[in-house]
């Protein structure tokens, strides 16, 4: 399973980075390959590469605001949640998305 995603919150200070870490840890625990970009108060970090996006089974947006570069995901399955959902229960979130999209391996 390959996943790409973006985390971004309203002020871009804290939730963005906590959400990213929580999702990354949960994904690794589940054995998924994941790349997460952050769009925070100091700009974009860990930017997704076109290759990451191309190979991804789906796109997970953990965002509270409009994020930049959504057009990169044209033709991909995109799932959007808020950062708090990702922080609260990242493992369940990933499992639910994988299940819903019929991607169970």
């Amino acid at each position: 399973m390959k996943i790409v995603g973006i985390a971004a919150c309203t002020s871009g200070i804290a939730h963005t980075y906590i959400a990213r870490e929580k999702i990354m840890k949960a994904a690794q625990k589940l054995g998924y390959d994941i790349h997460m970009e952050t769009q925070g108060t100091i700009g974009t970090e860990n930017a997704l590469t076109p290759e990451d996006i191309k190979e991804a089974d789906f796109v997970l947006l953990a965002v509270d605001i409009k994020v930049g570069g959504r057009e990169r995901f044209k033709g991909k399955k995109v799932v959007e949640v808020d950062t708090n959902t990702a922080i609260k229960a990242p493992t369940q979130l990933l499992e639910k998305v994988v299940d819903k999209l019929g991607l169970t391996e």
Partner: protein
């Protein structure tokens, strides 16, 4: 799992003056004010009420209680002179909107300059955010007895191999 290592000292933003291990307040508003007083006394916030208003504005936008007894109110504000954090720990439960619907005892108040030229400080705040995603860190946070313990806990590398 930080991709970019931050080899700077968290002690640069978190000083003992910005830590209160015996928070007296019983409400969210009072806790924010109590911690803001530390930031004002330390010279990091120049407009007390202006900062409190900005923090409460952010509170109105969404839940800042992360669950497990920790809340991270924050304000990006013109009232902030130096980007930093103030940390409060309480011996009693404080009601706070949180992801697990439980009250909190640890408050980490992020004060961020409206336009921050110092990305170094923002990076340090990011490091704290990354630490907060680690369950072990949260458990240890609740066990802290002294300011030195708290600072050394924050200095720990998120991956656990740091020895400074």
């Amino acid at each position: 799992m930080a991709d970019e290592t931050v080899d700077i000292d968290i002690g640069e933003v978190v000083t003992k003056d910005l830590i209160d291990l015996d928070i007296k307040s019983n409400t969210k508003e009072d806790v924010i004010a109590e911690l803001t007083d530390l930031l004002v006394a330390h010279g990091d916030v120049i407009d007390r009420q202006g900062f409190i208003d900005d923090v409460l504005l952010r509170e109105a936008e969404g839940i800042t209680g992360l669950g497990q007894g920790v809340a991270i109110p924050h304000g990006k504000s013109k009232a902030v002179k130096n980007t930093t954090i103030a940390i409060g720990i309480s011996k009693h439960d404080i009601p706070w909107e949180s992801l697990d619907d439980e009250p909190i005892r640890v408050i980490i108040l992020f004060a961020v300059r409206d336009i921050d030229a110092n990305t170094l400080h923002i990076k340090l705040l990011q490091k704290v955010a990354v630490l907060l995603s680690d369950d072990d860190f949260i458990v240890n946070l609740h066990k802290v007895n002294t300011k030195d313990e708290l600072i050394s806990l924050l200095r720990k590398d998120p991956e656990g191999e740091d020895e400074s």
